[in-house]
Symmetry: C2
Subunit: 145 residues, 2 copies
């Protein structure tokens, strides 16, 4: 699978979240060219403010041991919670769909040696722009504003 397909899998997760009435952010984690975990934001679905997409993805991947050779994909630039997981567990590379709607904790990750690639994907931007327009209160709750 190519990077495009991994990002597409993350977008599929985001759309799944949206169809469940949730916040449309999705994530997958990849090792050796295979997705080993996937997830999406479940604040609304599970009444759980800690289950951001990346956290759900990393939880679903299970106890994989070392993250040295993994790449985390997210439809949106990770916030400090998710960036904290990246830094703590030593995930070396993060590929994000966009950071136009949320600048997140890119600098924090980079300061800790994480390679962050922002692909500026139009579909990801549109998904979040629409959601923030439709549900600003839910979005602000999710990022602690």
């Amino acid at each position: 699978m190519s990077e495009d397909l991994f990002l597409k899998a993350a977008i599929d997760e985001a759309r799944k979240g949206l169809s469940e009435g949730g916040i449309p952010i999705g994530s997958v984690i990849v090792r050796d060219g295979k997705i080993i975990g996937r997830g999406h934001n479940k604040r609304v679905q599970d009444d759980d403010p800690m289950t951001h997409a990346e956290i759900d993805c990393l939880r679903n991947a299970g106890r994989v041991g070392n993250y040295m050779d993994t790449v985390l994909y997210s439809t949106l630039m990770p916030c400090y919670l998710c960036a904290g997981a990246v830094v703590q567990f030593g995930i070396p590379k993060v590929i994000v769909g966009e950071s136009k709607t949320f600048s997140g904790a890119r600098k924090f990750m980079e300061e800790h040696g994480v390679e962050v690639v922002d692909v500026g994907n139009t579909e990801c931007i549109q998904l979040m722009e629409q959601f923030i327009r439709d549900r600003p209160e839910l979005w602000n709750e999710d990022i602690g504003k």
Copy 2:
């Protein structure tokens, strides 16, 4: 309840985790002098590397909205994952049992304006020292080493 009793509640959570075969770290979150959430590390119990004590505690507190007037207690200095949650959601104060066995992400929290109080509790230190002696591989897995 006094600060001592809140820390004791976090220690009770840590001991509960230990009795379940898990990693003995516990946490509570307090608002207006009342515990509104509590939890402990569940890596082993739930096969879930994201459920550190503070994450479990914040999950169990539910969608509390604003964290402005909360205090988070943890038996151990938070790692970057948990400190990331503190910073992202604007928890202004963290009281920790100890940082002797793990220095954690204190500086990161302080740089983001979080007040961090380390009480150097003997019971917390002994609990972690014993656990790290008994299960070093599990401890290293938990902090991504």
